[in-house]
Symmetry: C2
Subunit: 434 residues, 2 copies
């Protein structure tokens, strides 16, 4: 049996998952890779910390140079996260012809070009399956299995925390706050949940997936982003009435050669496969011009699922010939130069929830404005709301397909009406037909 030495950078949640898998599934990994794998070094900040896994103390180091300068270490697994020093370490390791596996979405979404170019110029293999959607093989799926397609649309539930919160709101009627508290308690949400609930995490992941699916460079700033903090139980109730559910979707569509990139809460039909993705599960739904509809579903986070993706990348590298250069080159993200469409150009259906005075003629005023802006309505629901004077009602409007710019224009005018107290929420509706 051939032997190979590898190193881990980081021994947090994912690092411990990798360590556990390398030990518990040793026989499988050896037989499938053809190698006996030795973790020669693990870079940590503190060697004495209790991490809940048994790791021989002599392989822990706080000095990256011990890894960098060890010629026998052929593959470096970066699971420390964050931009620096992960970026510096990966670039230096590639300079020494070490192959790389990483789980670092933030670095790839913001500084991926430099990393990919380095891998390309050094002829080393660079794998990053674990950077998006944990254990779901979506990177490999796009990179290897959808290559015969023009990808037309991709819709992802790529953040487990927000999907858990929305699932609890939908199925148990919890408020956003109560659902978030439960997610925090169960360890699904971090102490500072902003990156999840405001959609930043999904934004990074969409940038990586889109860049890969469309072979083009995507600046993460070009991904429109809205979080889920404004979703109320009443929106869930209305969604149910329309036979829909609300999910935080990461969406990219190729519209006549231009890309539309957006992360926002979305109402989708209850009978769509994505609507049945509950709790902290992730799923990515893709339409390709040859393959048709395709969906990948699974665990988007957690030590073992993410570790599964990291170790499968490691095995892929070992199955190629690690001593040859350029054997498994990085897929280029500059095959095409796609333009980005502004969010104002998006065409969608819209759910608009407003609070208005309970007077005759209010609906007429609003529909006149919508009509003048060229927006046609699919349905209107009016209901009394709890207020001391019983003088307000909730008015929910659902539009047909219309351009977002028109909605913005109409909403500005509607908000000027004296009879309109509040525009409570606007949620885009996706019926997967456009």
């Amino acid at each position: 049996m051939k032997k190979v030495k590898i190193a881990l950078l980081g021994l947090g949640n994912v690092g411990c998952g990798v360590w556990k898998i390398l030990n518990s599934n040793k026989e499988e990994i050896q037989k499938r890779s053809g190698y006996e794998i030795e973790v020669a070094k693990i870079l940590v900040r503190e060697t004495k910390k209790d991490r809940g896994v048994i790791v021989p103390e002599e392989i822990l180091t706080t000095d990256f140079n011990e890894i960098l300068n060890d010629k026998d270490i052929k593959i470096v697994i970066e699971v420390m996260g964050g931009i620096e020093p992960a970026r510096e370490y990966m670039l230096k390791a590639m300079d020494k012809k070490k192959h790389i596996v990483t789980a670092n979405k933030m670095l790839l979404a913001t500084g991926g070009d430099e990393i990919f170019e380095k891998a390309d110029s050094m002829g080393v293999m660079f794998h990053y399956e674990a950077s998006v959607a944990g254990g779901i093989p979506i990177i490999n799926g796009i990179n290897e299995s959808l290559t015969a397609n023009k990808v037309e649309q991709l819709y992802g539930i790529v953040n487990g925390t927000t999907n858990y919160i929305l699932s609890k709101m939908e199925t148990e009627g919890l408020s956003f706050k109560a659902a978030l508290d439960e997610a925090t308690e169960k360890g699904y949400a971090e102490a500072d949940p902003i990156s999840d609930i405001e959609g930043f995490d999904a934004q990074y992941k969409l940038a990586i997936l889109s860049s890969l699916a469309f072979g083009t460079k995507i600046d993460v700033e070009n991904v429109y982003r809205e979080g889920i903090t404004n979703i109320k139980s009443i929106d869930m109730d209305y969604a149910k009435e329309f036979k829909m559910v609300i999910k935080l979707l990461a969406i990219v569509k190729d519209v006549n050669g231009k890309l539309e990139l957006r992360v926002h809460p979305t109402m989708i039909p209850k009978n769509h496969p994505l609507a049945n993705v509950y709790d902290s599960f992730n799923a990515i739904f893709i339409k390709g011009n040859a393959v048709g509809d395709l969906m990948f579903y699974g665990r988007g986070a957690g030590d073992l699922p993410t570790g599964s993706a990291v170790v499968s990348d490691l095995i892929s590298i070992l199955r190629s010939n690690i001593d040859l250069e350029n054997i498994n080159p990085v897929v280029k993200n500059n095959l095409w130069d796609k333009k980005i469409r502004d969010i104002r150009s998006v065409e969608s259906k819209y759910y608009i929830r407003t609070t208005v005075e309970d007077k005759p003629g209010v609906l007429g005023e609003i529909t006149t404005i919508l009509g003048d802006c060229g927006i046609s309505l699919r349905s209107v629901i009016q209901r009394g709301v709890e207020s001391p004077q019983h003088d307000k009602v909730t008015l929910v409007l659902v539009t047909h397909y219309t351009k977002e710019a028109k909605v913005i224009e109409a909403i500005d005018e509607i908000y000027e009406l004296k009879t309109v107290k509040k525009i409570d929420n606007i949620i885009r509706i996706e019926d997967f037909k456009n």
Copy 2:
């Protein structure tokens, strides 16, 4: 741009799909593979037939030797199906160092060893993503992305025809016959639907998937098989009452190192992701010991989805170095030698529908037999049936987990009872907890 010549064996449904994709997605395929691909020859039985695609007549041939002896043809795509002459042609082509892409499930399920060994000994690449579940990248998923896992269980809806029929029965209340007629009319079922409705097609596919997932040789004869022809509307109704649906599942489980391989109609909970796979869609649900639950969903048949899998295999080969030997070796199916468990050893819950005389004491007789066999009941439903004398009732029994051997024993005894007119149906229930 590098150039490569390839040949197609067959120009039926899948062959035409491959041809269409190579033309319509030419730019994507060139950029992603790095090659300009020329289809130099296509082997057909008749050169004059109208196939609905425009193919230059000069590349059509009825003589395989024109392909075999053309040194410039580096890759052969076998999409003719069936055992012979596909087997002979592939073996000969590999002898000439040609790489192979195939969509041939029947050959792989029954004579795969010889083919894999030839590829291995000649050092050529051999890809077969299209052989199972059309456009769904399940072969690559298992082969590349789940390698860090011990696969524990796999559940597949791998036959679109039967899933279409069961969907129509469930959602529109059609009889089996009416649903089959509709499937035939829509082109989902073949003129002779036996291979689909009796589960043979799913049996082949399960043999291929299991062999890959468990790295072991699987004789297709070891896969227990039941079709869906005995499923009645009334079974669908009872399933609904239990918040379940009926699907034809291909199941493999590793139970203490032995494999349980079976294809049969299965009641599964309505809230399971597989329960929401409708119409002719396919899905494969896998439990790995690291990745947890994972599902792949998509089109299991059709010219373009299957063609998508074939062409992505072609691109994979081109991305490796086609002039080097052993660059992307065939994954071995003899890494482990797993024993097969007999169907009688299976542990499951069971739905048993019987017709009995409407007399006091009948239920007591039956439950006594079940109790004596060590089978405990979860629920019993008794209802009158339409009969001239109103003297018969339907008795539905649902058991807790029990060994199949016990059920067989109990049913034999129950059938001996004078008061029992008929054992109408027995359907295994899968709650994904065992």
